[in-house]
């Protein structure tokens, strides 16, 4: 009985973890954990990328939407601004999931880099459109690049948790 309950609990955690970890990443992005560095990496979008490839069936679209809305609410951006970015990333990876599942890690890493450039253009475009001025995209580019650079460590950690 107890073992059965424990097993169910473990299974429940296993099913919830991908989405839960994305919400945790959204909250962690609000702390200056890496304050020593001149830039802060973004944990959320590599996390969405990883889980969409490996556990897409456990990532419901409304969950990604809610994570984006929470990110906007906590980050002070207009509601829907980062949500769009998350959904674009999710949709793009979902479409190429079979290819990415069978691709080498290096290839998957490169795809993340190019996707981060695409996301940067989307975020910069929306922010520039809203503020009606050409914003400097350099900090965003550096932040996204730093997130991509840290992706192997994140993958290592998530692989351990996943297995």
């Amino acid at each position: 009985m107890f073992y059965d309950m424990l097993l169910r609990y473990k299974l429940f955690l296993k099913y919830c973890f991908p989405l839960f970890s994305i919400f945790i990443a959204v909250i962690l992005d609000r702390f200056h954990v890496f304050r020593a560095l001149p830039l802060e990496p973004n944990l959320t979008f590599p996390m969405i990328y990883y889980w969409t490839i490996h556990r897409a069936e456990l990532l419901p679209v409304p969950g990604i939407f809610l994570a984006g809305i929470l990110d906007d609410a906590l980050g002070g951006t207009y509601l829907g601004q980062n949500t769009l970015e998350f959904l674009f990333l999710y949709g793009a990876v979902l479409g190429q999931r079979q290819y990415l599942l069978n691709a080498s890690f290096f290839m998957s890493w490169m795809v993340l880099f190019f996707l981060s450039l695409g996301l940067m253009v989307i975020e910069w475009g929306i922010a520039s459109l809203i503020s009606q001025t050409w914003l400097d995209a350099t900090p965003l580019f550096l932040e996204n690049t730093l997130s991509v650079v840290l992706y192997p460590w994140l993958t290592y950690l998530l692989n351990k948790i996943k297995d």
Binding site: N42, I69, L74, G76, L79, T133
Partner: protein, 295 residues
């Protein structure tokens, strides 16, 4: 026979792999269609939020209120690490700091005595002039629970809200100078728009030449001065303080110093290190002390 089986070719789809592929493709396209629908919802939400529809603001405030306790708890280990680091730092440099403090104490004692006599004189003069007593401000100190998330937004989240007496458009300070103003106020959380944010505008005055200007954030660490008439008279190192125009910021609050002049672009270095903030002080609206006495 009809259930799932581990034997190859006898699974849910039997000997029909095309059915499995069709099923997977259907699920993929169904999910992609759902993504498309939610992208449309996001665009609609963005439009509502941009148009400052009260409902969108309420949703934002509700979400920040909901997550503030989580953020407060989550920030405890981080705050503990920082405070331990500071304690170790203080412990190492105690002797050096003590020497400096003793010297400072002597200077401050002299200044306090001088200020006391000035205060007495001020009171007497006010009485002679039959001056209406000044209204005073009250202060609320709150802890920061979330920092700016993305490069295009410079705002912070506090763990105090309307139930603690916070209101919208209140100036936010530290002992060093101006930090920003309150924008979204929930019951238990408040968002502060920093002076470096693109949407921030602060009416300021340049000390020495008494030149009025508007300090505008540009998402960098150095806001710029706009609408300056006498650029030639301004030099690097000039002090900037609030002018009090507009009624949001009280006059003479220290803001920063001019750090760079490049043609018509004048950059300001704020006194406050906005990246290293842990606590801030919110200045409540002016309160008439005579009303408080009546209460």
């Amino acid at each position: 026979m009809f259930g799932r089986s581990n034997k190859p070719g006898f699974g849910l789809y039997g000997r029909r792999p095309w059915l499995k592929r069709a099923h997977q493709t259907f699920h993929l396209y169904r999910k992609l269609f759902l993504v498309f629908v939610f992208i449309l919802i996001s665009v609609f939400t963005l439009g509502l939020s941009y148009a400052n529809i009260p409902f969108a603001t309420k949703v934002r405030v509700f979400l920040t209120d909901l997550t503030t306790p989580v953020m407060t708890v989550a920030s405890i280990p981080y705050d503990l690490t920082i405070s331990t680091k500071n304690k170790i730092y203080k412990w190492i440099y105690t002797y050096h700091v003590l020497d400096d403090l003793e010297a400072e104490n002597v200077t401050l004692h002299t200044q306090v005595n001088r200020l006391k006599s000035l205060e007495d004189e001020n009171k007497k003069l006010r009485k002679l002039m039959k001056m209406v007593p000044d209204r005073f401000r009250t202060y609320i100190t709150a802890r920061i629970v979330a920092y700016p998330g993305r490069p295009f937004v410079k705002s912070i989240l506090l763990n105090a809200g309307a139930k603690d007496g916070v209101e919208e458009q209140q100036p936010v300070l530290t002992e060093d100078g101006l930090v920003g103003r309150t924008v979204d106020v929930g019951d238990h959380s408040t968002r502060i728009l920093l002076i470096t944010d693109l949407n921030s505008r602060v009416p300021v005055i340049i000390e020495g030449i008494n030149e009025h200007a508007i300090m505008a954030g540009d998402n960098t660490d150095h806001p710029i001065l706009k609408y300056v008439k006498q650029i030639s008279k301004i030099k690097v190192g000039d002090k900037i303080k609030t002018s009090g125009r507009g009624g949001v910021f009280a006059s003479s609050t220290p803001v920063g110093i001019i750090s760079e002049i490049d043609g018509a672009t004048i950059k300001v270095q704020p006194y406050v290190d906005l990246e290293a903030l842990t606590h801030v002080t919110l200045v409540t609206p002016l309160v008439d002390h005579r009303l408080i006495r009546m209460e």
